[in-house]
């Protein structure tokens, strides 16, 4: 549980230790002389990853737009109410994770642990809520094997959920290290990178929700 361990006194910030795989692993050729590079490279790596994911989702959405324009057979699905609760959970989780990131920069590690844990729980709640939403849609007769208008909803939400699962693993890994007070103001590359990707998933989800709520 967060806060059950005694917070050690803050000494000078430890050297930055980027974590596998987005950091300086054991490069057998060289020792990296400038740890600052590793930090910025990790952030760049996450941004590149976000670009790749954006393109994948843009391709899926483009396919949906083109398909809708091909025939007049598009049907809309009424979104289950729980999706709005899930949206709230994801936004709240993003806010908690960002607040955690900010307090870590100021060295408040116990508060960081609480906030990050809250973000993790809310993120897990979002995933659980998505499963409920899929079940509800199936009970109403909307299956993935049905018309493309339904199938695109499943594909986009599944792809998003797969991203959330990957991001949650990173967030939980941060949690694991945070509870051991292994992170701090000088050791927060993983925190910043994970938070950045989490916010990206938040924005992505808002886009998907907007698409299905107001257009598809």
């Amino acid at each position: 549980m967060p806060g059950t361990l005694t917070e050690p006194s803050l000494g000078p910030p430890p050297p930055i230790e980027p974590v596998w795989p987005f950091g300086d692993g054991d490069n057998s050729d060289h020792d990296r002389p400038n740890p600052g590079n590793a930090r910025s490279a990790s952030i760049t790596g996450i941004i590149v990853l976000m670009c790749a994911s954006t393109m994948t989702f843009a391709a899926l959405v483009s396919a949906m737009v083109v398909r809708r324009g091909l025939n007049n057979d598009w049907t809309t699905i009424g979104l289950p109410v729980i999706l709005w609760w899930n949206t709230g959970a994801l936004v709240a989780s993003s806010i908690a994770i960002d607040a955690a990131r900010r307090v870590l920069r100021r060295g408040k590690r116990t508060l960081f642990n609480w906030l990050w844990s809250a973000g993790t729980i809310l993120g897990t709640g979002f995933l659980a809520g998505q499963i409920v939403a899929w079940r509800q849609l199936e009970q109403r007769g909307f299956y993935v094997s049905g018309h493309p208008s339904t199938a695109f909803f499943y594909v986009l939400t599944w792809a998003h959920a797969a991203h959330v699962v990957g991001a949650l693993l990173a967030v939980i890994y941060v949690e694991y290290r945070a509870l051991r007070f292994q992170l701090g103001p000088g050791r927060r590359t993983l925190v910043d990178a994970s938070a950045l990707f989490w916010h990206f998933l938040d924005v992505l989800w808002l886009g998907i929700m907007g698409l299905f709520a107001f257009w598809a």
Partner: protein, 528 residues
């Protein structure tokens, strides 16, 4: 002792050193190109002797050969060698960096690529026949499973998984290259001071990032069509093998849009690294800086940008709106401008320079020649009216083999001769190299030049047997010539292989900077 040896083997196999990974990519590509070449020879032989081995080489088997040939060459040779192999080899040192940004991801990328390669080979030998939908895997037949016939079952499924894993590996490689360029560069090196090779790898990595992610989305949809019963690419009322397919509402054209949004940039993913290599090699062996550095950088960016906007020219005959076709055509023609800028700059760099016609330089000059020849036929294909005739003929086969295949391979050969000292600490034999170049240069034109004429005559591609069509009787002498030339072209590659493997062990030990190059990878501290 045995444990130590095992550890050493494991360390080498799963090395995170960028040079070791570069060699791994190089040899994987080499194996792929040899396999792909062997397959093409079997196909060429069958085209002129269709009765020989007819019981084994069925039309479906021919299409499997064609699919594996295309996939090996496009993905595992033209994407891997110019970018993954040679960028890994020298990019960090050229930038003054200490290594790639993410060494472990780099190693993971390679092994994912190796897994993709194994899956591809498995797809060829799968029960029910190897995948036969070509490297474009057009639905609806590729989307409905085994009912569509031989090769559409497990073979096609494995093919899709292979390309999916390859996409993920390529995205990781692109991420590594982009992060290395942006964050690991020496502090004294501005972006506009990077060697042209680095610029081309950087832009190619961005192109990889943008296009492979789209292919990944398309693969996700088609796999759902195959396994989850969705109908993204399968239209309603489709009859296959006298059986109604229980899908509705899909469109095969969706796949074509998504696939070619990846497929056209893929051409530039194959060729842009070669352009960077050629720029550096011509500059080094002309003893002059590359002419028009800034225009070279901006033309690289322009080619990549325009390359993302012209996918529709692969779909002119698919019922595309004529206005869209005009837009795609104009954008396609526009690519000629930055391409011409590059060509003029290469000529201007060499013009009046102190030319050293080493093998690397010869291949670089050969690249320029092949690139111009292949590019000119692209101007024909980029026009909807002409494409309506040339589409799916040998004219297209000639075009893309020259511009994408042979030109890129000349870039790979040039890079191999140029950086061999950094790969193995020795020199390749120059006399054998030059012999190999001249024979390959003649062989390439002898093989692919006449294909244009077969295309003029309306000779369709992908047909396993021309003898059953009366109107193709006139092209058979041409096809026999092409097959003969292809066998000669393939045979002379033995010279390269001999040179390569012999020089790895017995070549002259390379001096510090054998080509008197000015880029950083030749600094003594960065040597192999």
């Amino acid at each position: 002792m045995e444990t130590a040896a095992l550890n050493s083997f494991s360390t080498r196999l799963f090395s995170t050193g960028h040079r070791a990974i570069a060699r791994q990519y190089f040899f994987l590509s080499l194996f792929a190109v040899l396999a792909g070449m062997a397959l093409s020879l079997v196909m060429r032989f069958h085209l002129v002797f269709p009765q020989a081995g007819n019981d084994v080489l069925t039309p479906e088997y021919y299409l499997s050969l064609l699919t594996l040939h295309g996939t090996l060459m496009v993905f595992f040779v033209l994407t891997l060698a110019p970018l993954s192999a040679f960028a890994n080899l020298v990019l960090p040192e050229q930038l003054g960096a200490e290594g790639m940004a993410f060494p472990r991801l780099n190693m993971i990328s390679f092994w994912m690529t190796a897994i993709a390669f194994a899956l591809l080979l498995a797809s060829f030998f799968a029960t029910g026949g190897g995948a036969l939908s070509g490297w474009t895997a057009y639905p609806p037949l590729s989307a409905v499973g085994a009912i569509a016939g031989p090769g559409e079952g497990i073979g096609q499924t494995l093919w899709f998984f292979s390309i999916g894993v390859f996409c993920l590996a390529s995205l990781l490689t692109a991420m590594n290259i982009i992060a290395t360029v942006l964050d690991e560069r020496a502090p004294d090196m501005a972006l506009m001071e990077m060697p042209l090779t680095c610029w081309n790898w950087f832009v190619t990595a961005i192109l990889t990032l943008l296009s492979f992610s789209v292919l990944l989305a398309a693969l996700l949809l088609i796999l759902l069509d195959r396994f989850a019963g969705t109908s993204f690419f399968v239209p309603g009322g489709l009859l296959v093998a006298d059986e109604a397919i229980p899908h509705s509402g899909g469109s095969p054209l969706l796949w074509q849009h998504l696939f070619w949004f990846f497929g056209h940039p893929e051409v530039y993913i194959a060729i842009l690294p070669g352009m960077g290599i050629v720029s550096e090699v011509i500059s080094t062996f002309s003893r002059r800086p590359a002419f028009g550095y800034r225009s070279m950088v901006w033309s690289t960016i322009a080619i990549a940008f325009l390359g993302l906007l012209v996918w529709g020219h692969h779909m002119f005959i698919s019922g595309l709106n004529p206005y869209s076709a005009i837009a795609f055509s104009l954008l396609t023609m526009a690519i000629g401008i930055p391409s011409a800028v590059k060509t003029f700059n290469w000529i201007a760099t060499a013009w009046g320079g102190d030319l050293h016609l080493t093998t690397a330089m010869l291949f670089a000059l050969g690249f320029v020649s092949i690139f111009v020849t292949g590019g000119l036929s692209g101007l024909f294909l980029g026009q909807p009216e002409l494409d309506a005739y040339f589409h799916d003929t040998y004219f297209v086969v000639a075009h893309f083999h020259l511009i994408m295949g042979i030109a890129a391979l000349f870039g790979i050969f040039s890079a191999t001769f140029y950086w061999f000292p950094l790969m193995f600490g020795r020199m390749l034999d120059e006399r054998l190299g030059k012999l190999h170049f001249y024979l390959t240069f003649i062989g390439a034109y002898a093989t692919f030049g006449p294909m244009h004429f077969a295309g003029f005559a309306g000779n369709p591609r992908r047909y396993p047997d021309f003898t059953t069509f009366e109107f193709l009787g006139q092209v058979m002498p041409l096809q026999r010539w092409i097959t003969g030339a292809a066998f000669c072209l393939a045979s002379v590659q033995a010279i390269f292989l001999w040179n390569l493997f012999r020089s790895m062990r017995h070549g002259i030990v390379a001096p510090d900077n054998p080509w008197e190059s000015s880029t950083r990878e030749w600094n003594a501290a960065a040597r192999y």
